[in-house]
C-alpha cells in the first residue's frame, strides 16, 4: 500500500469522514480504516517508522500511515496526538523524548497523557575518541581528564539525549567538572572528532561504526546494559566498572482512553512486525536493536525512565 504521503493525509481524512457516516451501525473488528502514525523526528526515527508502518499494515490489513509532525523536540507531534481522538486510529511513534519535552517545559502534559502499546527498538549511545589519542577504555579517558585541562565533549545540543547521556556518564566516572560540552547541529560530531577539534563525543553507534572499522576512531564504551549489535567488540560502561545504564527506546503509544481492544490488536501487530525478517535486516543495517516489550512492561519502563530523566534534567538546571 504505497500512497504518496501527501495524499495519505487526505486519504485518511476522507476515510475518516466515510466511516463516521457508518459509525452508528454495528461495530466491526478493529481496525476498519487506516491508522495514522505520527512521527516526531527525521533521520533514524523516520526510517524505522516507515518500515514499521509498512510491516504493521501487512499485519492489520489496513494501512498504517506514517505522518511526519516534526519540530520542537517532539512537542508538536505530542500535542497533536494529545488532542486527537482516542479511538485507536491515532498512534504516535514515541521515545524518551516524552520525558525530556515534558520536564523541559515544552509541553504541559506528561507521559500519562498516553497509553503505551509496545516498545519496538532501542538505540544505545556510544562514546568515541580519535584513535590518535591512544585511549582504549573509559579508565584512559578518566586519567587524561584528571591529568590535563578540560576535555571538549561533542553533543547534539543542550538537553538532547546525547547531552543527558554524557552528563550521566561523566558524573558516574567522577569527571563531570573536567568536561565542557560543545553543541553541534546536524550530526557533525564524528567529523569534529576526526579533525581533532574535540576530545570525545557521544553519538549513536551507526554514526561511528564505519570510522571504527577504518581505524580512525576508537569507541570506548556504550552506555546501555548490553552491547550494541553494530559494535560487538565495544564493552559497556558497566563492564568497565562505571555504573550507568542509559538506552534510548522507541515504541508506540496512543492517547489515554484508547479502548483496550484496539491496544491489544496494535500490540500484536507491532510484535509480529518486529519479528519480521525485514525488520531484523534493517536493524543490522541502520544500527538499532530490536527490543519488543508488551504494553504493560513498556508502561513500567516509561514510568521509571521519566523519574530518572526528570532528576537528571533537574541536576543540569534544565528542568522547568
Amino acid at each position: 500500500m504505497k500512497y504518496p504521503m501527501k495524499f495519505r493525509g487526505l486519504f485518511v481524512a476522507a476515510a475518516t469522514a466515510a466511516t463516521m457516516v457508518f459509525a452508528g451501525a454495528a461495530k466491526a473488528d478493529f481496525p476498519e480504516k487506516p491508522v495514522e502514525m505520527t512521527v516526531l523526528f527525521g533521520g533514524t526515527a523516520n526510517t524505522i517508522a516507515q518500515l514499521l508502518s509498512e510491516l504493521m499494515s501487512e499485519e492489520l490489513g489496513q494501512p498504517v500511515v506514517p505522518v511526519a509532525r516534526k519540530g520542537g523536540g517532539g512537542a508538536v507531534g505530542y500535542t497533536h496526538l494529545q488532542n486527537a481522538a482516542a479511538d485507536g486510529y491515532n498512534i504516535v511513534w514515541n521515545s524518551n523524548s516524552i520525558s525530556t519535552t515534558y520536564h523541559t517545559g515544552r509541553i504541559p502534559f506528561d507521559y500519562t497523557a498516553f497509553t503505551p502499546i509496545a516498545r519496538v527498538s532501542t538505540e544505545i549511545p556510544a562514546l568515541a575518541v580519535n584513535s590518535s589519542t591512544g585511549w582504549t577504555s573509559l579508565a584512559d579517558l578518566t586519567a587524561a581528564a584528571k591529568a590535563g585541562g578540560k576535555l571538549k565533549i561533542g553533543i547534539s545540543g543542550k538537553g538532547s539525549f546525547t547531552h543527558l547521556t554524557s552528563a550521566a556518564l561523566f558524573d558516574a566516572m567522577g569527571i563531570s567538572d573536567k568536561v565542557v560540552y560543545i553543541s553541534y547541529t546536524g550530526g557533525k560530531a564524528p567529523i569534529e572528532l576526526l579533525a581533532g577539534r574535540i576530545d570525545a563525543a557521544i553519538q549513536w553507534p551507526g554514526q561511528f561504526a564505519s570510522y571504527a572499522q577504518a581505524g580512525d576512531l576508537t569507541v570506548l564504551a556504550v552506555t546501555g546494559a548490553e552491547r550494541a549489535s553494530v559494535l560487538p567488540d565495544v564493552a559497556t560502561a558497566q563492564e568497565q566498572g562505571v555504573d550507568v545504564n542509559i538506552t534510548m527506546w522507541r515504541g508506540l503509544a496512543a492517547p489515554a482512553g484508547t479502548p483496550p481492544e484496539a491496544i491489544l490488536v496494535l500490540e500484536a501487530a507491532a510484535k509480529r512486525a518486529v519479528e519480521n525478517d525485514r525488520f531484523t535486516e534493517a536493524s543490522k543495517n541502520i544500527g538499532f536493536s530490536k527490543a519488543y516489550l508488551g504494553a504493560e512492561d513498556f508502561g513500567k519502563v516509561i514510568a521509571s525512565d521519566d523519574i530518572f530523566y526528570g532528576n537528571l534534567l533537574d541536576d543540569l538546571g534544565m528542568a522547568k
Binding site: G9, G43, G71, S183, T185, G206, Y211
Partner: protein
Amino acid sequence: MMEHFLDAFGLAFTPMSIAAIGLGSLVGLIFGSIPGLTFTVALALALPISFSLDAVPAIGLLLGTYIGGMTGGSVSAILLGIPGTPSAAATVLDGHPMTKNGDASLALGTAVIVSVFGGIFSLVVMIVSVDLVSKVAIGFGPAEIFALVLFGFSTICGLCGRSLTKGLISGVLGLMIMTIGLDLIEGVPRMTFGSVNLLQGVNLLVAMIGLFAIPFIIEAFSEDAHLPKTPKKMANVRPELPSFRLVFRNIWLMIRCSLIGTGIGAIPGTGGAIASFLAYDHAKRFSKKPETFGKGNIEGVIAPETANNAVTGGTLIPLLSLGIPGDPATAIVLAGLMIHGLVPGPALFMNHASEVYGIYIAVVLAYMWVLGLQLLGIRLFVHVLRVPREILAVVVLVLCVIGAYSIRNSAFDIYSMAAIGVAAYVLVAVRIPITPIILGMVLGPTLENEFRTAMMLSEGKVDIFYTSPTVVVFFILAALVIGLQGLSELRAKSKTKQKVEVSDA
C-alpha cells in the same frame, strides 16, 4: 577498480534501475517545477518505495528525484518568478526578466543544459578527488564554515538593486525569522510566546512559497482588468533552444560556477542556495556588462543553474564519505542508503565499491533522463504563459496551500505562508527586494549556530576567528565584496549629483 566498474555497470544498467531512475527524475521534475510543491516532499514520498528495491535502483530513484527536483526548480522560477526550490531563488533574478522579454524557452533550454553540465562536471570532480576533497571538508570547522557563510551573506550587496540599506533590511528580516522556534544549541524556545506551533519554527520552504507565490497571486488580481493581460512579447511561446555557440561562449563561466558549486556542496552544512547566490554574484562581478544583470542577462541564468546542480555531485562527498547530509533532501537519500546497508563513511568505499560506482553511474543516468525529459517538457511548459494570469493565480494558490501543508503536515504552516506572503507583498510595494530574505533564512541558522559552536570551542576567545588562514581568506573576500559595493554606490551617487548640478546650471 576496473572490475568494480564493470560490476557497477551490471548493477546500474538493469531495466529496473534505468526505470527507477527515470521515474525519480520525472517525479522530481514535476514537483520541482510546480510552484508550491517541493521536491523534498517528493523525496519523502519516494523513500518508502525505495525500501523494496535493490540498492542501486533504490538510490537511483532517490538521487533521480533529487536531481530532477534541483533542475525542475528553475522552470517556475523562469516562467512565473516563483522559485521551485530555494536553490532556484537566484535564477528568478534574470530568468524571469528573460520571460518578460519573450525569451522564456531560451532561458529554460539554457538552464537545463548548464544544469546537466554542472551536475556531470561535479560528479567527475567527486570521483577523482573524493579522498582529497573530504579531507579538505573535514578541515572546515565551525569557525571556517561561519566565515564561508558570512562571505555568502555578503552577496546580498549584489542583490539589492538600487539601495544597499533596503537589501540589508531584507536580509536581516530573513535572519530574524529564522530565530523563531526551538534553539538547537541551548535547547530553549525563542520568540515562541508559549505557542507549540511556533516551537517548530518557520520552515524555509513554507516561507519561500509565501514570499514569491503570494505577491504573484495578489498582483494578478490587483491589475487593472481593462489593460492587456500579458505583454505581447511574453506570450511568445516559440520553442527556441540555445545554440552551441551560446553555450560554448560561456564555457568558462560554466566551469567556474561548477567549481563553486562542487566546493560549496562538499562542505557539510551549506548547500545549493548559497552556491547559486555566490555564483550569481561572481558572474555579475566579472561580467563585462554588470548593469544588464537583473534585466534578463542569460549569464544570470547560467551561473546559478550551473552551480546549484554542481552541488549535487559535491554533496555526495560528505554524504558518502562522512555520512553528513547537506540539506533535508540529502538526509532522505541518507536514509535510503542506510536501509540498504550502505552505511556512509570510509568503510563504504572498502566494502561496497561496486555499489558506490553504481551510484555514480546512476547520477549520470539521472542527468540523461533529466536532459531528455526537460527538453521535451519545455514545449509544454511555455504554454503556461498563454494561460490568463487570473486563472493561473488561482491554480498557484491552491497548489501553494497544498504544498505548504504537505511539508510538515501542519495547518499552521498554511497560515504562516499567508502571513509571510502578505508581508512580502507590502515589502515589494515599498521596493524592498525579497530575495535577500531567502538568503537570510537559508544562511541564518548556519551562521548563528556555527558562530556559537566556534565560540564554545574556543571557550569564549575570539582568536579562533583570526588564527585560521581559511577564516581570514573568507573574511577578506567578504570585506572586498562589501567594500567594492560601497565604492560603486558612492560613485553612482556622485554621478547623479553632477547631473543634478548640470541641470541646475
